[in-house]
Each structure stands twice: as structure tokens, then as C-alpha cells.
């Protein structure tokens, strides 16, 4: 995709909106960071590469103005889910879609280069990544260091857009495999699962990065994790409270999580929080045949009800 084409689209869109949100170079060679463009001179800073990992759609619910926004396929599902739930005014958002050929996971790259400071990152057309550190160059395939969500991505091309920055790409992934990792995990015994989650959540520091980075988590200012009325969770730093927070958070996202993976990406303690939400999503699929964030006219099953549900057996009273 031509970066110039993207910059041209952004410059054009900027004439009709108050701000366009895209990506620019971050604090080092391995990080991009959101860029809020309000003046044409700023468009030059815009970049596009597998470094552009953040889900920018999360900003839409807190901005009152007319906004242009750059989205990958996975990010666009957030916008569709917002439309289903009435959380944004579609007329106030101009969506600049980018068909995505995959991004990288900073954590996986750092593991590969043994956490040395990264001086340069170059992307080859053949799907390779070369990462330069003080000890030299390390070559790897993008697929090796992509986040888990890319492996099962069904929507590389945004599902909603006003402008498309490149030719649409079709998914090469088998829809049957989307929940394979959850099915594998589910084979563990109850005791094994308990030990697994206890070990993972023990590292949690309740920083709420996962909660705030989640685009669907919209009650952040009155979150159950912190309220005293009702007082569900105490401030004690122990496993019980941490697990309670994560269970409640995952349940609040039932039928709403668009699997953008931000929660897992931002966790400073490397906890695989996305797994819980994916499990609930697979249950949603089985029970209601519903996939969040795909069709704007869909009705989220946990926000509506039918008198008779197709897959739920009623008690015959």
C-alpha cells in the first residue's frame, strides 16, 4: 500500500473533520503511537507498517467532534459494534480503512531479540522482518512474531469504511479455526485450568490498562472494580480480588468483545486475558450464532432478548 495514498486521503478527509487519528513513529524503532492530526502540516508524520498495532477506534466514544480515523480490519469491528450499541453517531465519523497484511507483537519481537534495545526495524516485501539491536541483525518472519489474533483473522479488510487506502484483501484463514485455541484449552481438567489461571492472575497488578485500552469497556469512570456502592471488590491485593475483577470484566464483554486483542497487548505483566473473552465469544457463537462487530444491523444478544431462543432449551413448566 502506498503511504502517499494514505496521506492524501487523510489530507482530503481533514478538510471535513476536526481531527484525523492515525499512527506516527513512537519512542523507538519498534513502537508506533497514535497521532492526532489537526493541521495539514502534521500529515507528514503519518506512517503505516506492521508497527501500527493500537486500536484507534477506542477514542471515538470520548470525542465529541467530527473525527476521521484510520482503522485496520480488526479495528473496524469496534466501529460496527459501536453502531450496533448506539455508542457513536456514524455521521460524525469518517472511516479510513486499510486492508491489513498483519502486524507484529512487540512482546514477541522483544522475546526473540532477548530484550535488547531495538535500533531499527525493516519490513521486507516477502513477509520478513529484520530487527537491528546492538548485537546485530535478527531476521524473522512476520508470521512468527504476529499476535495470536492475526493467525485466525477473518476480516483483514475493514468491514466498514468511507475510504479504502488499498485493494481489498480476502481472508486466507479457515473460520473453523477461530476458536481452536479455546477448544484446546478447554480440554484441560478443571484442576489444571484453575492452576493455570491462578498462576497467571497472580501477576496482575490491577493497573486497569486492559480495561482502559478496551474499546468496548465504556463504564470506566464508574467501574465495578473501584466502586464502594455496590462494594463487589475490595482494594486488597490478593488473587481473589484480581480474579473477581477479570471475571466481571470478561462477563461485561459477553457478546460485545470484538477480539481486537488490545487487552492482552497492553498488559504489562503478560497475562493472556484475551483467552477468557474468546471463550465467552465462542459460547455466544454456539448459543446465539452471533459474531460481534461484523454487521451494523445485528442485534447484540446480551442487550436484547427474544421470547423464544433458538438454541436455549426452555424448562417445560
Amino acid at each position: 500500500m502506498s503511504l502517499d495514498k494514505l496521506k492524501q486521503i487523510i489530507t482530503d478527509v481533514l478538510k471535513d473533520v476536526d481531527v484525523v487519528i492515525g499512527y506516527k513513529q513512537g519512542f523507538d524503532a519498534l513502537h508506533a503511537t497514535p497521532c492526532f492530526v489537526t493541521k495539514p502540516e502534521q500529515v507528514d508524520e503519518i506512517i503505516w507498517s506492521p508497527l501500527c498495532v493500537q486500536n484507534l477506534a477506542g477514542y471515538l466514544t470520548s470525542l465529541k467532534k467530527k473525527v476521521g480515523i484510520v482503522v485496520k480490519g480488526c479495528d473496524s469491528r469496534t466501529i460496527v459494534q459501536y453502531m450496533q450499541e448506539g455508542l457513536i453517531d456514524r455521521n460524525k465519523v469518517v472511516v479510513i480503512g486499510i486492508p491489513c497484511t498483519g502486524i507484529l507483537s512487540v512482546k514477541k519481537v522483544l522475546e526473540k531479540v532477548k530484550h535488547e534495545p531495538v535500533e531499527e526495524v525493516t519490513f521486507g516485501n516477502d513477509g520478513t522482518v529484520i530487527v537491528k539491536t546492538p548485537s546485530g541483525d535478527t531476521k524473522m518472519a512476520l508470521s512468527e512474531v504476529a499476535p495470536d489474533k492475526c493467525e485466525t483473522c477473518l476480516y483483514p479488510t475493514p468491514v466498514v469504511y468511507d475510504h479504502l487506502a488499498d485493494e481489498p484483501i480476502a481472508s486466507t484463514k479457515d473460520p473453523q479455526n477461530v476458536f481452536k485455541d479455546v477448544e484446546e484449552f478447554n480440554k484441560k481438567s478443571l484442576e489444571e485450568k484453575k492452576k493455570y489461571w491462578e498462576k497467571e492472575f497472580d501477576r496482575c497488578i490491577r493497573c486497569y490498562a486492559c480495561r482502559n485500552a478496551c474499546p468496548m469497556c465504556v463504564c470506566q469512570d464508574s467501574c465495578i472494580a473501584e466502586t464502594r456502592d455496590p462494594h463487589w471488590i475490595s482494594q486488597r491485593s490478593n488473587l481473589t480480588e484480581k480474579m473477581m475483577f477479570h471475571m466481571i470484566h470478561a462477563l461485561h464483554l459477553a457478546g460485545r468483545c470484538v477480539e481486537c486483542g488490545e487487552c492482552e497487548r497492553v498488559c504489562p505483566m503478560g497475562i493472556p486475558v484475551n483467552k477468557l473473552k474468546k471463550k465467552i465469544n465462542s459460547d455466544m457463537k454456539a448459543l446465539f450464532g452471533y459474531e460481534p462487530g461484523v454487521k451494523p444491523e445485528d442485534k447484540p444478544p446480551m442487550l436484547t432478548f427474544s421470547v423464544e431462543e433458538k438454541n436455549i432449551e426452555e424448562h417445560k413448566l
Binding site: F27, S237, G270
Partner: protein, 354 residues
Amino acid sequence: MADTGFIPKEKWGAFIEGLSAKAQVWVPCLEEDIVIFRPYSKERVICFDRPANTPPKGVIFPQSDTLFSFAFTKDPENPQKVMVELEEKLDFPKTIIIGSRPCDAKGFLIYDRPYTQTDTPDPYYKGRREQTTIITMSCQSPSPGCFCTAVGGGPADKVGSDILITEVNTGYFIEAITEKGKEILQQSGAENGSSHEAEARKKQEEVHSRVQDRFCADGKPKISRDLFENDDFWQEELAKCVSCGACTYLCPTCYCFNITDEKTFEKGERIRSWDGCMYTHFTLEASGHNPRPTKYQRFKNRVGHKFIFYPEKYDGVIACCGCGRCIRYCPMSVDISEVVSKLQKQTGSASNGK
């Protein structure tokens, strides 16, 4: 008593094991690909290769800490009357932290001034601090985002540590800095360190030269108050922040806390827990009024606290150690060093640029 020593690589494990016999030892441990301070045990995999994801501040300032417990009892003569009994929890074990970095150790010094150099010293912090020895490993390389030299620190800075250890080719060069440190060195059975000193110094200087000078060559950034008070500046810099507060929890120098009562029926505890000035509700009053309702105001207060207000109160000491964790782990890569760099440039200070 000698001030330096040397422990060869093959005796390193025994050295740590030996320390664990004297006190509760906290070491950075590898779990999945995360490094986190844990109490030492033989089963754990210790990792000194990079700074821990979370600083060791939780050892002296636990994430949740019982201040006192309370219990209600009814007066048997008059059941309407309920008596309350309070019990303080004030005993702290002897502790050794090994594997902090110089930036982490500086964090404890930042705590010391408000928590102990006051007419109302904090007995919980003070008690744990007095019982803790800090053994710091000097950095073998800068970490992504770190900038200790710009705030007056360095990858082999001794300030705040009892012992500084520098890894050299065949082992570990030990420098005892305080009396506590010298005592440990003497009891450790370490060899004479003088023949390894030159190698250690060379290593320390080499790493120091590689730390990026983000914004201030002399370690004393001066902030432009005009730009600091400009709301537009903060709105532009902070538009990408999602106000999660992870930066405050991962910061070695952040010391804000909350006090809450947690009760179950007739007894309970008043606990102190970590809190962060970046959270929306931090200053929210019961009336609904919030002095810092926007993330811009909160971040301005955070930068102000570290680079203006704390130095104002405490002899110009900057309350930031440059560890870079807030930058590394920020979901949106907000870069406090970039913000301070811009704030500095306004003064046209001779120490910026180059």
C-alpha cells in the same frame, strides 16, 4: 572492613542462597517472559538480564497493607452499645532486595523525604525501610525508553543502594556503599575485589555512554512555567492517553495511595493500597465535584509533581528516576521524556539540544 569484593560466577548461586538464610530475599524472577520480584526460593528462575517489569517498590510499600484491624463487640450488659477495638499491625521482617537497578533504588529515596522526613513519619514505610537492605545490579545495557542520565542518575549510580554489583567477565564485582552493605560483604566470603575493579569501571562507563540523553545533559531539567500553564499544550500531548494508570503503578517513584475500610460482619481492616493520580476518580468528591476531571489536568499534575512541585519542596530533587517503564508499558506509548523535552526547550536552556 573492605569496601569492594568479587564473587566468581560459580559461587554466585551460593551467595544468594547464603543471603536467604539471614533475611527474606526478594529477587527478580522469570515467569513466562515477564520479570517480577518474588521471594527467593530454589524453584524460581532468577533473571538479572533486564530490569523487572515492575519495580521492587512493593517490597517496602506493599500494594495492599493492613494499617490496623478493628473488631466490634456488643456490651453484654447493654446490647445496644457497641464497642470498637483497634489493633495495629506493625512488625516487619528483615528483608534484602537483590537485583534492583539504580533507578529503582532512587525510587526509595524519593519516598523517604515525604514519608520519613516529616513531623508525622509513616511508621509502616519507615519500619519496612529500616529492615531492608538494597543490593543493586548496575545495568549492562540501557533499556527501551530509559533516560536516567537526563534526571541526574546513571546505570551504575550508587545513590540509594547499600551494595552495587557489576557483572564482569568471570563474575561479579561488589561495591559496599553503606555500613549495612559493608557488613553483608564481610560475611559473604567474597574474594578481594581490587583486581576486577578496572574491568568493572570500564563496563560502567561504557554503559553510561550508551544511555540516550533524552532532554538534559546536566541532569537538572528546567521547566518553562509558561508552557506548563498552557492548556492547549497538554491537550495536544495527551490526546492519546487512555487514562489507565499503569504508568503510576509501574513507576518506582510514584507513592500515592488510598485508604479503605474492608469489613466482614463484626470485624475488618483498614488497608492502605496503591492508587494513581491518573485515575479519573482520584480526586472525585462526594458532591460530584472533581478538581482534576480531565486526563490533561491529571497528567499536568503528574508531570508537575515530578519535575516542579517535588523539587520545589525538596532541594531541587527530581521525582523521576528515568527508568522508562511508563513509556515502555504505556498502551499508547505516551512519552513523558518527550513532553519534558518540549517543556524544557521553551526556556532556551543551555543544557538542551547539542
